[in-house]
Structures are given as C-alpha cells and as structure tokens.
C-alpha cells in the first residue's frame, strides 16, 4: 500500500519538468506552453489525490522517509536529499496541487494575450515545484531551499508587469521583507541543528529533530532560541504583523498569482513549517505564547485594515493576513490539527475568492469595488461561487470555514481551560475578528453584486476555463469542511490524518500541570492531535484525543448572532449601492489610523527604508568604494612598488651587475694581458733569458 507513497517525488518533479519544457519549447506550441503546464499539474494532482487517499483511509500512518546522501557537509555531517511523507505532507500536496492545477486552467484564459504568457506558465511551474519541494523536504536545509525558491518565484511574479515602477517596488518590498525574516529562519535552523550535533550525522533531519525534542534531548535554550528565530521567518513569510506589510502590495502581481501564491500556498509555508516542527514547539510555553500573541494581533488588526480598502484584491489580502493570524494563533494554543485544517480549507475558499475577483476584474477592468455594482445579473456563476467563498471565509455554519475556524476557537477554549491566558485571547479576539471578517466581506459583496453597475464597461460572464475552477473550488470550499466536523467518522478524519506517532500525552506540553491539563481535556488517554506510537495502538482504531468534533451550541449561537449582525449592518450601509459617505471611511481618527495602515508603511519607509537608503547604503558604498577598494588598491600599489624596487635593485643592479661585471672585468683584463703578445721577438727572447736565469738561480738557491 506504500507503493504509491514511494512515488511522491514524481509529484514534485512534474512541475519542474513542466517549467523546463515550457521554457525550452513553450513558445513554439499552439497553446504557448500552457498545455504542458496543465498536463503536468493534472498528472501531479491525480498522483497527489492518490497519495492523500492512501494516507487518509489508513490514517494515522507511520511517516515514510526516503533519502539519499547528497553531499557531505564536513565534520562527518551529511546533507540529505530526501522526502518525508506523512499525513501533513499529503494534506499539503493535495492543497498545493489542487490550487495550482485550478490556477493553471484558469490562467490559460485569464492571461490570454499577455506578452509574457509562456514565461508566466514557466514561473507557475517553477513555483509549484518549489512549494512542493518545501512540503516534502525531509530535512530543514532542503526545506529552506524550497522556502527561498518560493520567495524568488513570488518576487518574479509580483513584478510580472515589470513595466510599472510600483510593481517593481512591490516585488522588491516583498522580497526584502521576507528576506529579513529568512535570516532569522536560517539562523534558527542552524541553532536547532546545533543542538543535534552530538546526536546524529544528519542534524537537519526533521524527524530526528522532532524525536530529540520529544525525548528531551534538546536544551530549553536551543528550543526557545531556535524556534523563535524560525518563527521570525514564518512571520515574514506568512504575513504576521509587523512583517505583513509586503502582502497587500504583492497584489500588484496577476490575480491568479495572488490566488496561488499569496493566498493559498506560499504564505501558508510559515504555518506549515511550524506544524512540521510542532513537536518542538510543543515543548516550550514561552514559544507557544509568543506564537499565539503574534497570531492574535495579526488576526484582529489585519482584519480591521480590510474595512477601509476599496481595492478588492487588497480586501482579500488583508483578509488573508487575518486568516493566517488564525492559523498561527492556533499553533500557539495547541491547535495543531485545527491550524492545518484551517490552512487547508482557507486555501480553497481564498483561492476561490481571488479567482472570482480575477473574473470580476476581467469584466470591469478595475480592481475597485466602488467601480463595480450590480454584477449578480451579468455574472451569475461568478456571483454564486464568490458568495460561497465569502460565506466560507465569514464562517457561515456548515461551510468549510465554519468548521475550521470553530476548531481554532475550540482549541483556544481548551487551552484556556488548561489555565493559559492566550487561550481565552484566541477565543474572544477570534470571535471579534470573525465579526469584522463577516462585515468586510458582506460590504464587498453588497458593493460588488447589489445596486447599479457603476463601471464604464458592460460586464460579461467569463469563459468556461475560468468558471470551471471557480465551481470546483466552490464545491471544495464547502466539502472540505466535512473532513473534520461532527459528521465525520471517528477514523479516518482530518485529525487522524495529521496524527504523527511522536506526540503522546506524556511528551506534549511538558510545561502543563498534569491535573488541570487532564481535566480541561488538553491531554489524556487518547493520543493528542497526533498519535501514540502507532504500532502500539495496533489493536483497534487509534483514538485522537479531541475525537470527532462535537456541536458547541454556545459557540454556534454566538457565531450566528455575530454573522447576522454583521450582514445586517453591512446591508444597512451598502445594500442600496455605494453610499455617499462610506461609513467605514467616516469614523474619524479610527479611519485615519486604518487608512494609514497603523503607520507601518510610513514607519518602515521613514525609519528603515530611508535610513538604509541614505545612511547605510552610503556608508556601505563608502566602505566598499573608499575603504575596501582603497585597501585593495593600496595593496596593489605596494606590490607594484615592491616589484619595481626588486627589479631595479636585485635584477638590474645585483644580477645584471654581476654578470656584466664578470664580462667587463674579463674584457678589461684581457685588454691588459693581450699587450704581452707584442710581436717583438727580441722581447720574448729577453724574457726567456731572464726566466732561465731566474730558474737557474732558484735551483741553485734550492741546493
């Protein structure tokens, strides 16, 4: 049965193959490369469905790990190239390939006539590959490679319309902001693996890190420092305040890109990574509290910003930030399964909303909801799918968003029951934000679909290729919720799907007091949002601690009241078209704060961008051009001088002087000596006689 799981790498490889093929031959094909992308993603999607099905029906499954040693890292450590397939991976594979496939199909029509049509599809393929690489990576280094690649693709696709300066700026902002967090990520990964150095040859292996953390082999310092730094990376990637500033600007990219990258997949990478390392996160209270607080801040204040936006895509972007806040907050209050469940459902309905927005923008040639109005008649299919997506986002009962968001709120309640303040924070702020969410989505829906057409175009319904993905996603936006709802069976359901054998009642949340934790239902006999050793639980279905969700009438009542109130308010303000004074823009100082986006952009520009640009870059330029170049030039000049001195003294004077001296002295001496051969025979005779006399005298004296 594992046979299909062994081929998980094919799911990852197909989009890369598609990207390469499109780049190579895409332009010559009749569909300009889009058919390759759609075919590859379709195959990937089918395979991912198979993998998801296998892991789901048999859930919980033991993780399947396959790796080859890629390259030694030095010091006996090995960098693996490998995949880790478990329920979490399967969920992400299914989500990414589904949304990516839908976006591919949708873009074939939406991007028609774009000058860089082929490039767009190549980039989509590359992005999908990178995201899948991140998802299946079995070690943190490989995950970081995928992480950086998705960041690159995001940058390239935000700047897809690079003729516009503001689009370039948006790309740069996204890249630099996420890069800031990535520094934290890579340092955090190294800190975590440093704790593993004594334990294994593969310190980056995710399973081994999780096992070591659960076994208490990692020091508290390692866990806190490592996870907080990794969380910094997650904050920048998943748009957590205050590093969310790039996400609304990222809407400069084409709408299908916003749907795929900036709503459904890439921005959830941070949440995915936290879930991947959840056994480590769950070891420390401070880490969980930090994550929960940032999540709560983001889910509430991010949502508020959507109130004053006119640009439909920006409304959706702020709502994405807010929903990401829910996911992160859920991780921080022990809602591991709830967080991933929300990630999963949110991927579908937010992709649906973005694609629907694309369909509307296509029809009226404007992003602004103030330019729309009365679209319900002209675009019936877009209308109902968009309403389904909005209901899911607002958490209307029986939609996917309702089940997943309620799971998060329940997780907060249980956490609060175990005596943690952040639990109630998530519960109440989460409810308040649900009201805000409902209100801004109702505002958008009324302004778009009700009243008179305010656009200067005659709206028309989009073609089949754009509507089909909308309908598929609309169905999923409702259906996905039943994976973990009061209607789902005890096994399999979404929670058993995500269960890992690592987390047991004893090893999770070691900082909790046993009595209160058990009483509140946080830990207990069953396995946590994750499993006991799966092998040990062989006799009978594995129980998940929370079990199948039950109805919470109190919560349901509050949610329904809030929903009705928000829709009623929105109807009063916007039901009859765009009011002359938009109420959300007439709230005095409150509006000013929201329109200024709490001043983050202004603050960032004034205190980060400007100082960096004017001071730091100037200083860096100075140090580079003057100091370092000066040093290099100085060393160069010194070397040249030394060489010249050596040439003049050693070569020209000592060596050449010696050789010339030998030659000149030979000439001088030979000039002197040659004069002995005067040609005067009588002189020779005289010397001969003198010599003879001397010899005779010498011999005589010697006797």
């Amino acid at each position: 049965m594992d046979a299909l799981l062994e081929y998980t790498w094919v799911v990852v490889a197909l989009p890369l193959l598609s990207a390469v093929l499109i780049t190579a031959v895409g332009k010559q094909l009749p569909g300009k490369g889009s058919e390759i992308g759609i075919a590859a993603l379709g195959l990937s999607w089918l395979l991912a469905i198979g993998i998801a099905w296998q892991t789901f029906v048999a859930s919980p499954v033991e993780p399947l790990e396959r790796s080859v040693d890629w390259t030694p890292l030095g010091g006996g450590f090995v960098f693996e190239l490998g995949m880790l397939v478990d329920g979490l991976t399967a969920v992400m594979l299914l989500l990414v390939t589904t949304v990516s496939f839908m976006v591919h199909v949708y873009s074939r029509e939406y991007m028609q006539g774009e000058p860089r049509y082929t490039y767009f599809f190549a980039m989509l393929g590359l992005f999908t590959f990178s995201m899948l690489l991140l998802v299946v990576a079995n070690n943190l280094l490989l995950a970081v490679i995928g992480w950086e690649l998705v960041g690159l693709c995001s940058y390239l696709l935000i700047g897809f319309y690079w003729e516009g300066k503001s689009n370039q700026d948006a790309g740069n902002k996204a890249f630099l902001t996420t890069k800031f967090g990535d520094v934290g990520l890579i340092v955090g990964v190294i800190v975590l693996s440093a704790g593993m150095f004594g334990l294994t040859d593969t310190p980056f292996n995710i399973l081994e890190i999780n096992e070591a953390a659960v076994a208490g082999q990692l020091s508290t310092t390692t866990i806190v420092l490592g996870m907080l730094l990794i969380f910094l990376g997650c904050m920048s990637k998943s748009g957590q305040m205050p590093l969310h500033v790039w996400l609304p600007d990222a809407m400069a990219g084409p709408t299908p890109v916003s749907a795929l990258i900036h709503a459904a997949t890439m921005v959830t990478a941070g949440v995915f990574l936290l879930a991947r390392l959840y056994p480590v996160v769950a070891q420390n209270q401070a880490v969980m509290a930090t994550i929960a607080i940032f999540g709560v801040l983001t889910l509430f204040f991010g949502g508020l910003l959507a109130l004053v936006q006119d640009d439909l895509k920006k409304i959706l972007a702020y709502s994405t930030i807010s929903q990401l806040g829910y996911m992160v907050a859920a991780i921080g209050v022990g809602g591991y399964a709830a967080s991933i469940f929300h990630l999963f459902t949110h991927g579908f309905f937010k992709a649906l909303l973005f694609l629907g927005a694309g369909s509307l923008i296509h029809a009226v040639h404007s992003n602004n909801i103030s330019d729309m109005g009365g679209m319900a008649k002209a675009m019936p299919h877009t209308f109902w799918t968009f309403i389904v997506g909005s209901l899911a986002l607002a958490g209307f009962p029986l939609t996917a968003g309702f089940f997943s968001k309620d799971e998060i709120l329940i997780a907060g309640e249980i956490w609060a029951g175990a005596g943690f303040f952040t639990g109630s924070l998530v519960y109440w702020v989460g409810l308040a934000a649900a009201f805000v969410t409902t209100f801004y989505m109702a505002r958008a829906c009324f302004l778009i679909f009700a009243g008179e057409n305010r656009s200067h175009h005659t709206p028309h319904e989009s073609g089949k290729l754009m509507l089909a993905p909308l309908m598929v996603l609309a169905v999923l936006s409702v259906a996905a919720g039943y994976l973990l709802s009061p209607f789902s069976p005890e096994q399999p359901n979404f929670e058993t799907w995500l269960a890992t054998p690592l987390l047991t009642a004893e090893t999770t949340f070691p900082f909790t007091d046993e009595g209160t934790a058990a009483a509140s239902g946080l830990v207990g006999d069953g396995v946590l949002a994750a499993g006991t050793s799966l092998a040990a639980a062989g006799d009978g279905p594995v129980k998940v601690l929370h079990g199948v969700p039950t109805w919470h009438p109190d919560l349901l009542a509050i949610v329904l009241v809030l929903f009705s109130l928000a829709v009623f308010l929105a109807y009063r303000f916007y039901g009859k078209g765009l009011p002359e004074r938009d109420p959300t823009l007439s709230m005095g100082r409150f509006t000013d704060v929201l329109v200024a986006k709490y001043g983050f952009d202004d603050f960032g520009y004034r205190y980060i961008v400007v100082p960096v640009r004017d001071k730091l870059s100037a200083a860096a330029t100075y140090s580079s051009n003057v100091l370092i170049d000066g040093m290099v030039a100085g060393v160069g000049r010194a070397t040249k001088n030394a060489a010249m001195t050596t040439y003049r003294v050693v070569d020209q004077q000592v060596i050449d002087g010696g050789i010339n001296g030998a030659a000149f002295s030979a000439a001088w001496w030979s000039d002197k000596l040659k004069r002995i051969q005067s040609g005067d025979v009588q002189k020779y005779a005289g010397v001969l006689v003198a010599g003879t006399i001397l010899l005779v005298l010498a011999f005589a004296a010697a006797r």
């Binding site: 004069r675 040609g679 005067d680 025979v681 009588q682 005779a685």
Partner: protein, 103 residues
Amino acid sequence: MSPIGPLLLAAFLFSAGVYGVIARRNAVLVLISVELMLNAVNINLVTFQNLLFPGDPAVTGQMFALFIIGVAAAEVGVGLAIVFNMFRNRASVDVDDADLMRW
C-alpha cells in the same frame, strides 16, 4: 792544458751572442749573434770532451761540434733567405719592424 781559457772564451762568446740576439736591431747582426752562441757551445763541447774523456777514441764532443757547424751553416742559409725576403718587402732589415704576429 787548463780548460779555464776555453770555458771563459765560450762564456764570453755566449753572453755576447745573447746580448746580440736581444739587443741588436739589424737582422743580419742577430743572425751573427746566433752563430756566436752556437760556436760558444762548440767550444764547450770540445773542451769538456778533452777534460772528461781524454784519449778516448770515441770523440763524441768533436763529432757533435762538427754537426753543429753543419746545422749552423744550414740555419744561416735559411735565416739569410728570410732576411733577404724581408728586405725586399719592406726595404728594411730592422727586426723591430717585423711585428706582424702581435695582438
């Protein structure tokens, strides 16, 4: 008979010959000086034959002297021929002029 007289004579002749060869400029006189030295040797040969081997029937010294006289005659022949050629070419018999084999 005492050998002192002939030996002194021979020494004087040899010295005169050496002096003539080294000092005279005239090539003919140089040749004559060479003859003087040869004859000094002849006198010495005869003198020492009579002094060391008196009455010996094998008169080696005298025989040597005769040979030397013969060779000297040949030598003067060659030498005079050179002098004649030299005079013809340069209109001079000064040995100082014959310095072609120099640096």
